[in-house]
Symmetry: T
Subunit: 143 residues, 12 copies
């Protein structure tokens, strides 16, 4: 199974930026843990602060990969363009947020991307990414 | 580890109600699968259509259990009282929704409970409950 | 034909509460008149002030009866949970209001239940219930 | 008893326009059924697409007839002028809608006319007119 | 000086409609008084319940007369089309309301026509028309 | 007959402030014209930029004078306190605006004072004051 | 004099729940103090987390007791049904809040119950109940 | 091919009304140019200031013609009735505006008719009509 | 104990202004009763219609007195400046309203001052002041 | 004549993305047709998913070309920056949408770019581009 | 060069009021520093808690001085009257705020005065006044 | 001291774009003046039209430089992502606008970035940059 994690703006600062909200671990360190816990899954990683580059990558992987884990950061709340990209592709997208966006500013309570996703995982710190990964594993079992 | 799943109004109709949205499986059947997959966890289950009874149970387990998985159904969007109960107790609460509430009516886009939860898992069908369970397992590991 | 009338909060005070708006007749007295006028129809009656008990009854009768006449009182304007219940069941529901809700407070102008009903009858005093009953009789005739 | 049915804009297309919502029967055919079912009531009929002509007729019959059944169509949601006319006259007006306006566009959820009416009947297809007629028959009986 | 008074919907019922708000005098009787008080001014009168006919008359007189006194009734609050007509013509228009629209329903607090008028006179009963007439007499004197 | 004109904030700058909107005449000069045109009426004048002083004067004259002409300037749109004062007194108040407030900023479209007044005269330049005066003269004649 | 204190959802957790906001005393302990301070008044007490049970009790005592002190907790902000109950009964109701609801979330700034009460006492901690009690004692004296 | 151009309120003043916005050409003159440029198309023309007459014509041509070019003027922003008519008929309708409605008042930014049209052409002056005509010619070619 | 009662705009008219809402007693007469009932408390009194003078007094007493009872009248709903003053001083402020502001106009439902106060007492007529006084007496006892 | 077509985010997926809305033709294939139909016009083409790159191109061509046809896709509804760019340049811009944005989500009903354009063409599928091209050809003829 | 600093309500408490937001220095002490740093500029100072007195001073200096530095405190967000005064005078006004109003309550995010000012300086503590002064010094140099 | 000026979209057109609002000077020319006036400060300059590139630079300099002067242009009003970047870094950011954004379109009245800045300087033309520079110089002196 081939999965890509796409991180949006400012997530390259993880471990450095507002650690009381986002934790002290860099995403790269976390990714090592994750990959070693799920050795059977190929986990690719992409980060960009540029809205259009995120769209470019969604287009590239969106007809090939088995799953996309997307944390669009601040673009989650403002980008019709990324939301359109998520809707245009065939690979299912799981939206992820590290912090509990609903206990922060009002404008973080709305995600334009959400209606087009397979599901959302919000507020579990970096563990949100692992749960998103889990959602791709045996979601076809019992329903 | 002792976990309780609390289901709110109309979730007793699962498998019967609008199956195109909520699936054909009753919750009891699903619960069997879940328990057998996680034999080490004690998973209790409670369902009620009465807002106040959900609050009663939150009070009862909220200082004893290790985790609460709460799908408050329609009350998620209207109940200040349940939100207050979640905030008043000590056990962490994970909010769960079966369907993608953000692709449905506008009033389902707001959860009064959300700001007081440990995290939310939305839209993965019944698999949302398993992911919630997962969130209690090793969330203390790497952060 | 088997019909149930379900009355919500405060409607047990009919004849006692704000008679200038709701009239001087108790609902039980009115019900006698109604039953004697429609001897061929089995008219059951249920009243509760508890939101969840109304949902319980909707679930119980909602796959068996021929029609439900629902006056959810104050819950009409606030209850996503009852609205979901109405949508989940198979028996058609007619929403009834005694007073003209549109000439009262703004928050009474919106019914969350309405979109899921077969139809609404509003403002005819207790006669609203008779008209609702009529709607079940020959609505299959000419259309 | 002398009753008039006043139909507003586009209702002359009944049977022709969006039959999935409004049915396949023309209003004239329906009217025949209705008149034969209620031989003791004189049922007049008027239709116009012009807002002001509806007001003219309301003025003419509004101090003479026993009842007015008004389906103002699209003007229900926008016409302060018709609402004023309904308030200015003495004959009671029952507002009627064929479709369930509350399950359609938001702007159809508000009727400016409603606060000034004796009551509303919404969503029963053409049967809404018969129920409105019924409301004039024995509403003086038990209250 | 040639002035026209244009009255909109329901104003033909003056003296008959809601006299507690609009008074007991018919407009025709009032007009006699007005004409005899201002013998030097030619006061024409037009009333219609049809929005488009009011526009037709505005077009006809709007490049010829010295002043227009317009009480558009309910159309004041909803008609972009009449507002456009007032803006399109050259004759100055004074907007008049008999009742104090600001102490009534919210939707009467907004006049689409107002921004395009020479001025407004609101709430003086029928005397509003006399004051509007006065505004055309010596408004060029001292400014 | 004893009338007082009360002018609110910035109206002491008339003739000096934004003459394209308010004209070149000072209010004192205009007042001379007005008094000479209506020699039988005692016209007092008060101006203040202090909200509370306007209230003080309304209290003083509001149980003695025959009429109050009030241009509360910017306070018209924000002062609950002046609106309460107008409602508390017995002398009728006519609200006056020099410019057409409805063709300016949105917040000028709402007058908190308006619902408590006898009537409003808006947009006729300084002539608005004369028309207000006229409204006190023969408003008791024909109605 | 017979008074009942009715406490709504989560108030059974007093002394336990968020003590920085609600204090460390349980309501039962506080009640003892209150009863001993006012030995001449019969103070009954009822608490429930169920909206409908609060309505049931309001109906029961609402035509018999001298006063009702109601802290409806989270239901204050959402319950049309309790507000209707308060309006339907004859005993005067005083609304009480322990914390200053106006310095908390926006949705706590609105009480649907408030317009139907005799008065409100907000923000004095548990002392709010004593002040409510005081309001029933000599409110008939000087007014 | 048989096309009709339907112009709504105030468009009969073209060439006369606010020429800085709408240009100096009367619509009749423009129509001559248009017809001579497209000799193979039968272009009918209808103008009315009456909302209901526009609906009448839409009904008449809406099941016969190949295309309707509709500039509903001020009614575009307020008329649910015309929007319903456009939806009820079979002939495709292209909405046209002469001026750029999006650079004018806020209430011109919303067209109730738009969702039911084949397309919209906005802001090209009278040339908007020609472009609308073009849209009917070879829109079936390449898609 | 040194307490000051500060009354805002129009409260000098008490006994004179709208007695159906505010009662027939002047505040001075009421004050006598209050002082004689609480002989151990020094009760000072200040009234002004000027917003800034209320701020001046708040500054003067706000670091010296034991308590402030503030009825800011109409300024309660509009004055950020008084709200800032209340927040800036050290003496606790109790907000008082004579009438039930929540059963009156919408703009009276919001108090800008409220979030900065120790508590609010609303709707008990003049008795509201006595209850406010009571709140300062033994609020330190049991909590 | 030199024209450039600028396509925004996701329009590179044309023919691939949601074909029920956007059609099965890739834009490149369509462009061939268009160029062969208008051999005298030089039609350049640019597409980017990056907001800032669209601005860069607008700056580059905006003082040189004869016309710009801009379909900013999702950025149309959110980008103040592109709107500013359109306003800053001299070449006229025609805004184009393939689908009828007014029959889709609410946030697609607003274009920030629109007020600064020469005109808009909306909803004609790919034919919208041809009509935009037509608008540059003889719009100087008759006006 | 003659400059006046005008401070509005509660700014007389500087150094005393909420020092965590506003600092520990009194404005008089700060003013000494400022004057000694800019010996060539005549810096006058005025403070009042009365809205109308601020207007009076603006009128007095507004046609004489070279610059006005205005911190209207709480009135910034509510006073149409001061905003009108700023617009009415000729001397340019720079608006100043000590704290970052955009990181505080929502109602502090709007300044009615701002649109009429030469510029705004917000959030630099007392240093905001120095920067405002700087803005008057060489703002005519390079532009 | 090391300062960077970061300019956002369209500011590369300065001197060319809407000179009536933004002036005739290019930013490069202005920068020369600024550098020569403050020879002791190292002033770096960066401009980009790409939102993500602005974020990249903020990350790069945000833990090294002494100050950032940011004019994010149109992104100020829409970019949660840039606002997050400003909050994530350690170097203080001063927000700058050339024009008075509060006298322009409504959407320019809100800056998402503002709450996270050290301060804002708005409306002084290019001189805004100098004032921002000044704010970094002696802001530590007297406070």
């Amino acid at each position: 199974m081939q999965i890509i994690i796409i991180n949006g703006p400012n997530l390259n600062l993880l471990g450095k930026r507002e650690p009381s909200i986002y934790g002290f671990l860099s995403f790269e360190e976390y990714l090592k843990h994750l990959r070693s816990s799920y050795p059977d899954i190929e986990i690719e990683y992409f980060q960009s602060n540029v809205e259009g580059e995120i769209i470019d990558v969604l287009h590239k992987v969106g007809f090939l990969y088995d799953g996309i884990i997307l944390n669009a950061g601040g673009y989650s709340h403002t980008s019709v363009a990324i939301a359109d990209a998520v809707k245009s592709i065939e690979t299912p997208v799981v939206e992820v947020h590290i912090s509990n966006v609903f206990s922060r500013e009002d404008y973080r309570h709305i995600s334009l991307i959400a209606p087009n996703t397979k599901g959302m995982i919000i507020g579990f710190g970096l563990d949100s990414y692992r749960l998103a990964l889990e959602s791709f594993i045996n979601n076809t079992e019992v329903r």
